[in-house]
């Protein structure tokens, strides 16, 4: 009994348990949710935004936050589309898009480290800058360009579920290894827990911040590219919904928003659960506005719940 209690106290376990329960409930109660096709599409949605969540999770564990995720997603899909339209081969186009996203990450890190701008302010500002720049450069209508290769990479289904999902799993596996089995992960948790001690113990905090925010940019970039592949074209608000979703997924996955605490593995459950909740609200034909309200309230409730647990110690 006490072991069961102990198991439930772990926010990650709680996230996975809730995910399974919610999924079972939808399968039983909502018509059509048991179909394989529906579940594949749920996982596809989860995977597409899931990359951004992976990066966001690393940032949050390091004690920061990346509010430029949504604009980075847009930036990457627009850049990639433009490059493909210009006749560049798909891999090159993807490379350029990802590079652009990492540059945004480097810009974020520079301000945060050297100008001491709080992460939340810096990343919101960076987001605004990207948004404005894209609007000016594209005149509001981004170029349409998407090759067969990109479409296949995103929604091809050689192995039951889409390729995007498998790529998501692969990136997750690499990041999981980095966060749990490598020096990098130790340092990220250390910075999120206590920057002073980390510095005094030889962590190169500047270098780490660059790596962390560039990683977040890179991950959000993959989201953007595969979203382009998924629908075959892009638009300037393609990334917008995912800002809140990415943070919600991290929090729902059991990672402390205050940094330094929570297992990285929670992100998968967090992401899928977020998508499931969105789907349920969708089916109940609740409007976009109310979906947002609900999502916002959910994040708030979760933050309060986790905050309480922290205080109880």
């Amino acid at each position: 009994m006490s072991r069961c209690k102990e198991w439930l106290k772990d926010t990650t376990n709680l996230a996975y348990l809730t995910m399974i329960l919610v999924w079972l409930t939808t399968v039983i109660t909502i018509k059509g949710f048991a179909r394989l096709g529906h579940n594949v599409s749920t996982l596809q949605t989860a995977a597409l935004m899931g990359f951004a969540v992976l990066g966001q999770a690393v940032v949050v564990i390091s004690g920061g936050i990346d509010m430029s995720v949504s604009e980075i997603i847009t930036l990457s899909s627009v850049t990639c589309a433009a490059c493909i339209k210009a006749g560049l081969p798909t891999p090159v186009a993807m490379g350029i898009a990802l590079l652009a996203c990492m540059l945004v990450g480097a810009f974020n890190a520079t301000s945060i480290v050297f100008l001491k701008v709080p992460p939340i302010i810096q990343t919101v500002a960076a987001g605004c800058i990207i948004e404005g720049t894209l609007l000016v450069l594209t005149n509001g209508t981004p170029p349409a360009g998407c090759g067969k290769l990109l479409s296949w990479m995103s929604k091809g289904k050689p192995l039951v579920v889409t390729n995007a999902f498998w790529i998501w799993m692969a990136v997750y596996a690499i990041l999981w290894w980095m966060m749990n089995r490598s020096k990098f992960g130790r340092y990220v948790y250390a910075i999120g827990t206590n920057v002073n001690t980390a510095k005094n113990s030889g962590v190169h905090v500047t270098k780490m911040n660059y790596m962390i925010y560039m990683l977040s940019g890179f991950c959000a970039g993959i989201s953007g590219i595969l979203m382009l592949g998924n629908i075959g074209s892009t638009y300037l608000t393609i990334g917008d919904p995912y800002q809140l979703y990415s943070i919600a997924s991290v929090v729902i996955g059991g990672i402390a928003i205050t940094g330094g605490k929570g297992k990285f593995s929670g992100v998968i459950a967090g992401t899928i659960l977020t998508v499931l909740i969105r789907d349920i609200l969708n089916v109940m034909s609740i409007s976009e506005a109310f979906r947002n309200i609900f999502q916002g309230l959910l994040v708030l409730v979760l933050l309060l719940a986790y905050g309480r647990e922290r205080r109880a110690r």
Partner: protein, 504 residues
């Protein structure tokens, strides 16, 4: 005989089935000062927390002012006149000194805060403890650790306490400041003030207390007038050891001083310190003493690369170097144990293992950067046995350990790197005698193996007992250097307090 203000009768307390205090009794009458002694984890803080209402007790009775208090809340305890000054400071750094003193007890004038009156009273309080240079209007964050602790004391005294609980409240003070506080306490004693005093510095307890209670593993070993317990007997009651063997035997001074220099600063300028000459020999234990906040810490920050050497030169093993930061210093074999264990030395919310291997993690990685788990486990096991860390398992969260064990973990974390220069800032602050002795032995062992140690300490006895050479710092300058037979308590106190005459 006056009636007892506080009567603790056969009180017990358990946490999660562990009895941390069993059948402890105490009595305090007006004017009595009680010393509470025991190693870390002996139950001193628990007893105090029961009296001040932070915890509730399981068995027994606590009577305050002739009334049985079954449950006490901290607010009630304060209303009854019981105030506490703790080692962990509660000073708010962004409020002014005066605002801190009156926090929650602001003087009101028609519903508005009477700033002038509060500042006037604060001025008086500060003057009474010889802190004339502090302005009541300045931010409390600008004060040194010692000044903050003095301010805490002022804050408590202003409330006219009947019973003042001092829980390691002098840990950051030097001998002079302690004396100022003690004089104030003696003054108040005549008006009937009672004190419960916890301190790891035994001589302070002897100076001011009249009764002493020794706790060990939650049991009350003895309660006697302080005169009847001499220091030797006291230590053996606490630990089963005597004071003679607290410090390991010293080495011959000439031999140590003839060793080659390992690190040297020539005409260095860093922070407020200017034209500093400093050299540390191989295998030497160099102490940095002096009054609190004279710039001692700046020396260490410079040696560890936290603070840049603005002018002058630094040499390591005879080779000129420039330290670009802590990681650079670490790569060159320097390790630094900060004074603030919880905020600068540890990741308190993480397991022991995470902390233990943090500084040497690169060595435990393979070529891909993966941490080799077997190597890490070996490293942890080795640290556990060689430092005799008392914990259930390496996965225990470090904040659950006692201060002494936490300090051992920080030391182990650094020694895993096999440093050739070890910088220790207040290595034994707030640590029980038993662990102190272990740390001293460890230091002596390292020095014997050729590791150089630089140690800042506000404990005079520790500097004399451990160091081959001591320099004192006064207003960011090296004041005196003492070694060999010149290193006595009297000389050291003098060297700390008086500025050297430059024309001498």
């Amino acid at each position: 005989m006056k009636d007892a203000f506080l009567q603790v009768k056969q009180v017990s307390k358990s946490f999660f089935g562990n009895k941390v205090l069993s059948n402890v009794s105490a009595e305090l009458r007006p004017g009595e000062f009680l010393a509470l002694i025991g190693e870390n984890g002996a139950g001193k803080s628990t007893l105090i927390n029961l009296i001040t209402g932070i915890y509730s007790y399981d068995e027994g009775e606590i009577w305050i002012n002739g009334k049985l208090c079954k449950t006490i809340t901290p607010a009630e305890a304060q209303r009854l006149g019981i105030y506490t000054v703790r080692q962990e400071l509660s000073i708010n750094p962004v409020l002014t000194v005066a605002q801190n003193v009156f926090l929650g007890h602001e003087i009101l004038n028609h519903g508005l805060v009477n700033k002038k009156e509060m500042e006037r009273i604060t001025r008086e309080l500060l003057d009474a403890v010889h802190l004339k240079h502090i302005d009541p209007r300045q931010d409390a964050g600008t004060l040194t650790m010692a000044e903050k602790q003095m301010l805490e004391f002022c804050k408590a005294v202003y409330q006219n306490p009947k019973l003042l609980v001092l829980d390691e409240a002098t840990s950051a003070l030097d001998d002079d400041q302690v004396e100022i506080i003690f004089n104030k306490l003696r003054e108040l004693q005549k008006q009937g003030l009672m004190v419960i005093f916890i301190s790891h510095r035994l001589h302070e307890l002897y100076e001011i207390c009249n009764i002493m209670t020794v706790l060990k593993d939650g049991q009350q070993i003895v309660t006697e007038p302080i005169q009847s317990l001499d220091e030797d007997r006291l230590i053996s009651l606490m630990t089963g050891r005597t004071i003679q063997d607290l410090f390991p035997a010293k080495r011959e001074s000439k031999k140590v001083q003839s060793a080659p220099e390992i690190i040297k600063i020539e005409d260095g300028t860093f922070g407020k310190c200017k034209h500093i000459h400093l050299a540390v020999k191989k295998g030497e234990i160099l102490g940095i003493g002096g009054l609190q906040g004279q710039g001692q810490q700046t020396f260490m920050e410079c040696l560890f690369g936290i603070r840049k050497l603005e002018q002058g030169a630094m040499f390591l093993d005879g080779e000129r170097i420039v330290l670009r930061g802590p990681s650079d210093a670490m790569a060159r074999g320097i390790a630094y144990l900060p004074a603030e264990r919880k905020t600068e030395g540890l990741f308190v919310s993480h397991p022991i293992a995470f902390n233990l291997t943090f500084a040497c993690i690169s060595r435990l990685c393979d070529f891909l950067g993966t941490i080799r788990r077997k190597a890490e486990k070996e490293e942890i096991d080795r640290a556990f046995t060689s430092f005799s860390i008392k914990a259930h398992s390496p996965n225990q969260i470090i904040s659950e350990l006692s201060g002494g064990n936490q300090q051992k973990v920080v030391l182990a974390k650094w020694l895993a790197r096999n440093p050739k220069l070890l910088l220790l800032n207040e290595p034994t602050r707030g640590i029980d005698v038993g662990t102190k002795k272990e740390i001293y032995e460890l230091m002596a062992g390292l020095a014997g193996k050729g590791v150089s140690i630089v140690m800042i300490s506000s404990d005079t006895m520790e500097l004399i007992g451990m160091c081959d050479r001591v320099i004192t710092v006064y207003e960011n300058e090296i004041n005196y250097e003492l070694l060999g037979n010149d290193l006595t308590e009297e000389a050291l106190v003098k060297a700390s307090v008086f500025r050297r005459d430059r024309n001498e």
